[in-house]
């Protein structure tokens, strides 16, 4: 199967990014004012999720991590069911047993979400192995961060995928932060791609805040995987605008660095570009934001209305 060769509608990508941003801001608000469980957001990394997922086909699988909202929403997940999950409700994607941290949506191809940093990398080779068997189609796109790249599993995963030529798109969202520690303190290199190269895997490192650059690179990566059969490593350089977990006062963050990255916000950048090229005006922008806001309010109403699970659910689904 070939990748979608047509340019993605940029407005559509913008709207998806706005939806992700609005969803996560709603989570932050619900935590702060309504006591909903805290969460790990991906604010500032929306272009990574939208650009890569846009390049995937329905047969492809996605493995993600504790910052999964962008990947799920980019894939078309229902924000109502996601919010219900975060709130521990019955209609959540995982019947309320995951919470925000490990939401999977198998029907959308978002599988085996693991919140153990690096866990997704160990599972990705298995998904890739399944997809490499005769009669199977698709690639496994595995999202992780620079923190996971410091785990041993990153290296084991890339090595095995390269040796077995597994169809895996490794997507490293290098967001500069590993929980409460800056990447500079934990790595002797600037780019994770330098490590990946050592395993003989084709690599590319691009601006993760430019959704069009991400989309183009992901398309190229998918095409390479489908043509050559082996893995591909895509590094997206981006920034985690909020703390590791909500709440987090970010007292450990260099204000100048944060300010510099906020000035390169992926949504703002795309809006500016679209305006410069006369694809976006005030009316269009207002309409788009209104739609997103309406979607989020409807999602919240759905989640609020969903009942909590029955007590009998406590021991259901332990075994198949």
């Amino acid at each position: 199967m070939s990748c979608d060769a047509l340019p993605a509608p940029r407005l559509q990508m913008l709207e998806r990014m706005l939806l992700i941003r609005a969803y996560e801001e709603k989570l932050v608000h619900l935590h702060a004012s309504h006591g909903v469980a805290g969460t790990c957001t991906s604010v500032g990394q929306e272009a990574c999720a939208v650009g890569v997922v846009q390049a995937l086909t329905p047969a492809d699988r996605i493995l993600t991590n504790h910052r999964s909202a962008g990947h799920l929403l980019a894939r078309g997940a229902d924000p109502g069911r996601m919010l219900a999950e975060v709130m521990g409700k019955r209609d959540g994607y995982c019947k309320g047993k995951s919470g925000s941290l490990h939401i999977s949506a198998a029907k959308l191809g978002v599988v085996l979400t693991s919140t153990i940093v690096g866990g997704e990398l160990a599972l990705a080779t298995g998904v890739g192995l399944s997809l490499s068997m005769p009669g199977q189609d698709g690639i496994a796109a595995c999202f992780f961060g620079d923190g996971a790249a410091c785990e041993g599993r990153f290296h084991e995963s890339l090595n095995l995928a390269a040796v077995w030529k597994l169809p895996i798109l490794y997507v490293c969202e290098n967001n500069q932060w590993q929980a409460f520690v800056h990447r500079r303190e934990t790595m002797p290199v600037e780019q994770i791609a330098a490590w990946a190269e050592g395993y003989g895997v084709p690599v590319r490192s691009v601006d993760g805040n430019d959704v069009e650059a991400v989309y183009a690179a992901a398309q190229e990566a998918c095409a390479a995987i489908r043509t050559n059969g082996g893995p591909y490593f895509l590094e997206l350089n981006t920034y985690r605008q909020r703390g590791h977990f909500e709440p987090d006062d970010q007292s450990y963050v260099d204000r100048r660095e944060l300010k510099a990255w906020l000035a390169r916000d992926p949504i703002m950048s795309l809006e500016r570009r679209l305006r410069d090229q006369d694809e976006l005006d005030d009316a269009r922008q207002a309409a788009m934001r209104a739609r997103v806001s309406e979607t989020i309010e409807a999602a919240l109403a759905f989640a609020n209305a969903s009942p909590f699970p029955e007590a009998a659910e406590l021991t259901a689904d332990v075994y198949a």
Binding site: G92, S104, L112, L123, G126, Q136, L160
Partner: protein, 330 residues
Amino acid sequence: MKMTVNEAISQALAEEMRRDARVLMFGEGVATKRGDLLAEFGAARVRNTPLAEGIIAGTAAGAAATGLRPVVDLLFAPFLCYAMDEIVNSAGKLRYISGGQFAFPLVAIAMTGSGWAVGAQHNHNLEAWFVHSPGLKVAMPSNAADFKGLLKAAIRDDNPVLFFVDMALTPIEGEVPEGEHIVPLGQAAVARAGSDLTIISYAKTVGHCLQAAEQLAVAGIDAEVIDLRTLKPLDEDAILRSVRRTGRVLIVHEASRTCGVGAEIAALVGERAFDALAAPVMRLTGPDAPTPSSRVLEQAFVPQPAGIAQAARQLMQAARRRAQPEAQFI
């Protein structure tokens, strides 16, 4: 048909791979050591891997959740420490966490137990760790027929199964039924019927218990020996049935004492069959120590037939109300 435990394992693997194209096997040296499987099923289904237990187990979990039925050989049980995240956090939990969206039909084989003088980093009976972890099943057979039957059942099960091979048993021959032979997970076996006391064990020490029972028979004590075969799910009914008949329980395992499988059985008997007990439940286990290499010390670690018989005689004399000194390893 007579065959060794090793041959029984090979036969189970070949039969299941023949039966189901989704079954595949990988691990360190799997393709090197199992040339017969490689020849019959090809390199896509019989694979060597890097010496990296974490990614082997993770690959098995990911593959199991997406349509394959992997069997992985992780060599020695202590190496499972490198694979704990994948087995415990992924294979054991992601079904539940996802609200039942995934299943993990995989088998992880690991060797353990005394007999090869390999020392504590290759010999560690850590099966209780996995019994304690939700979402997993644990099998630990004692004879060739059960190795074959339980491995086949484990491969067909839709859940992750830890399959422990007591390495001293691998060359031991036993009778294996002809034709399709399956031993369901979760069913204990009465290895020897008896009426005076119940000796409960699994893996290599089942043989030791049977030898002890012969010694006891000479002294006029009729011991029943229960082979658990599967540690999770535990066949509680089989244990309670026997205990209710004999009223005396001796639990024997090679694994260390504290929080071992024996502790769970003692608690079960105390909770559900206290009224039937004529004497306190007794355990005879390996000590709370790493395993030594020296053959003499290695054998001292394991409950032996003479020590089991001695503990049984002690148990026969014990009365319920009398304080009973705890039996340590012999």
